[in-house]
Chain length 135, copies 2
DNA sequence: AACCCAAATTAGAATTAATCTAAATCTAAA
DNA sequence: TTTAGATTTAGATTAATTCTAATTTGGGTT
């Protein structure tokens, strides 16, 4: 029996390429772009193609293994931490930082009531100046 | 003396093109993309160019007259409502809805403390199924 | 152990959104 | 009325992502 992501409801196979992509994302502290992931994955599997990185990222996003963070018109960044957490983005240098505000999770119910949506997740993003830029 | 956006700290002139762009955004209930704004602005000013729409949108964003909403890899959408408010995005059909959760504004201080950022704004986005898609 | 088939990978083309460039035009102020 | 800086324009360019079509892979049968 092949390795599958059964526990995530997917029938996709965990190929060497996908393992490499996942490993890259999980090994990094920061939030790499698809291009950065491609570069790093190529160090593990020289023949891997750009399309495969994007395909893997799409699958992981859909099965909940990674999270895509997009802001402005710059390249999306990928986050391998699956627990719910929040982001702060520096309006000056673009730095992206994780933090956790459990109050944010509590707001999901209220947000769902106001919007009449069936809630899945809630994203809280703080825009402001990072410690380096506020001097 | 020409019309300026002085009250917003800008020295930019309010040209007919920019007036058209602003009028289009404010007249619409939804959140148009740059392309939709271009199409609508052309009905008012047939000679207006794409670049001018983008230039205007950049200026308005910087002076705080409009807000840019970007999610996933689709085109950014523009929001003419300047008051702080929240968004819900349907994970099925992509519909974008406004709502207001004053508790969200209260979280800005806590978020700033956790992240050590100097806060400017906080965005709260609910992902889920819109009333039409949840059936 | 050979076969089958669906899924996955690959390279490169295509698409999309947004920005840049350079020349022409406008406008407020001197 | 001249000028300098800001703005607009059309089209080229860039950057990110997705698509296409051909090839390869690998697990589940026979």
């Amino acid at each position: 029996m092949a390795k599958h992501f059964k526990q995530h409801g997917s029938t996709a196979r965990l190929t060497p390429q996908r393992e490499a992509v996942l490993q890259v994302i999980r090994a990094r502290e920061d939030h790499p772009t698809a291009n950065e992931i491609f570069e790093a994955a190529r160090a593990l599997l020289p023949a891997i193609s750009y399309a495969t990185v994007y395909n893997s990222l799409r699958d992981f996003r859909e099965t909940g293994l990674v999270r895509e963070i997009s802001f402005g018109n710059s390249a999306s960044r990928y986050d391998g931490i699956t627990d719910r957490h929040d982001h702060a983005i520096c309006t000056n240098c673009g730095k992206l930082v994780d933090f956790d505000l459990n109050e944010a999770a509590d707001l999901m119910g209220a947000a769902a009531r106001k919007s009449r949506f069936k809630p899945e997740t809630v994203y809280l993003t703080l825009m402001g100046l990072c410690p380096d830029c506020r001097e």
